[in-house]
């Protein structure tokens, strides 16, 4: 009876806990063991953010932290100021899919050839495909920041 009550209130078998803990710890391990990947991710992040604001690339810090049930990426990117071009028209990125007013986005097409990509970026920042494309394009922007 006691066993039954215990199971009722704690239904997750320990093997499931073990599986989940392993998944998280290995994710952290793999990130820690692939510094080149993290560096490349950091460079891409800076490049993307630099399109909107001027950042202090030298002071940027990207770390990973294992939290309760996720591995979180913590990015500390000091912002020096707004980019004049990005100030007004571009809509804030958090909820891009239900894009009703597509007009403002297309207004900046002049300086960014593939704007649709930029709108998608915040939705799936970790997906490898868009990352590569962004990297190629924003490499130009990132260059002065590094220099």
């Amino acid at each position: 009876m006691l066993e039954f009550l215990k199971r009722l209130f704690n239904p997750e078998p320990s093997s499931v806990t073990a599986r989940e803990r392993l998944r998280l710890v290995l994710l952290s391990d793999h990130l820690a063991l692939a510094p080149d990947v993290v560096e490349s991710l950091k460079a891409d992040l800076i490049a993307v953010i630099s399109k909107y604001v001027d950042v202090d690339a030298a002071q940027c810090d990207v770390t990973f932290e294992q939290q309760d049930r996720v591995v979180a990426m913590l990015a500390n990117i000091p912002i020096l100021g707004m980019k004049p071009a990005a100030r007004a028209p571009r809509p804030a990125p958090p909820e891009p899919p239900p894009m009703i007013d597509a007009a403002p986005a297309s207004a900046t097409v002049a300086d960014a050839p593939d704007v649709p990509d930029a709108a998608v970026a915040p939705v799936a920042p970790a997906a490898p495909k868009p990352r590569r494309r962004r990297r190629r394009r924003t490499g130009v922007n990132a260059a002065p920041a590094h220099g």
Binding site: S15, A18, R19, L22, V25, L26, D29
Partner: protein
Amino acid sequence: MHELREDPLPAAPPAQQPRGRCIVVTSGKGGVGKTTTTANVGVALAATGARVVLIDADVGLRNLDIVLGLEARVRHHVLDVLEGNAELDDALVSDKRVPSLKLLAASQTREKDDVDTNAFRGLVEKLRERFDYVLIDCPAGIEKGFQNAIVGADEAIIVCTPEVSAVRDADRVVGLLGERVKITLIVNRLRPALVRRGKMLSVDDVNAILRLPLLGVIADEPGVIISTNKGEPLALDANSPTGDAYRKIAGRIAGTDTSAPEIPREASFLDKLFGGQR
């Protein structure tokens, strides 16, 4: 030793296989059963007639000889050979039970850092010319002892128990072995009853993470402990299901057994009641 000198080593392996295979048995974590696995897989391979040499690379913590029951016959060890203080043929210990099996024991009084990596590689190369299989019992850890043990191997057997620590370490070792080495997996010490009750990682759970070709699964059963007590590897016991599992693993390594690895089943009530072994 005497019979060894009279009848030195087997002639060169058959023409279609000019060099023997070198397989390192490794895990990262200690205490998961590398030595027991090396002993049993080696014995099972040799029992089919293949020429097998087992090298204990765990210098300073020599154990393969005692698990095999050959501890009283060791006269020289691997460092004696590497440093030119003993002839290879004198250091290879024969096993009366399986004539085609030889053991090269580790030194108990030396340290892993004493082993010269290039000399070890040379020794492995030499042995590959004379044996069908060179099996290396790797020490735990990923330091010099591990690096030496893997230097001459182009295949690796990862031994992993269904525990978070063992899986994590195995994952690390897989990364260190790199693309050069062909890696397979043995899941050791599985307790089917615990898996059924959701209290132990299953073979699928382990291999969902490691993603390696599965060579076999060994149950956590008293027979394994009893066999090491006696120095009689289970692979020699025709009646032992675990011995059978080791023989099948040997068959899969040799390519003669293409059956999928079986997951050990729970011991029945009668098995528990009359669990015959002592």
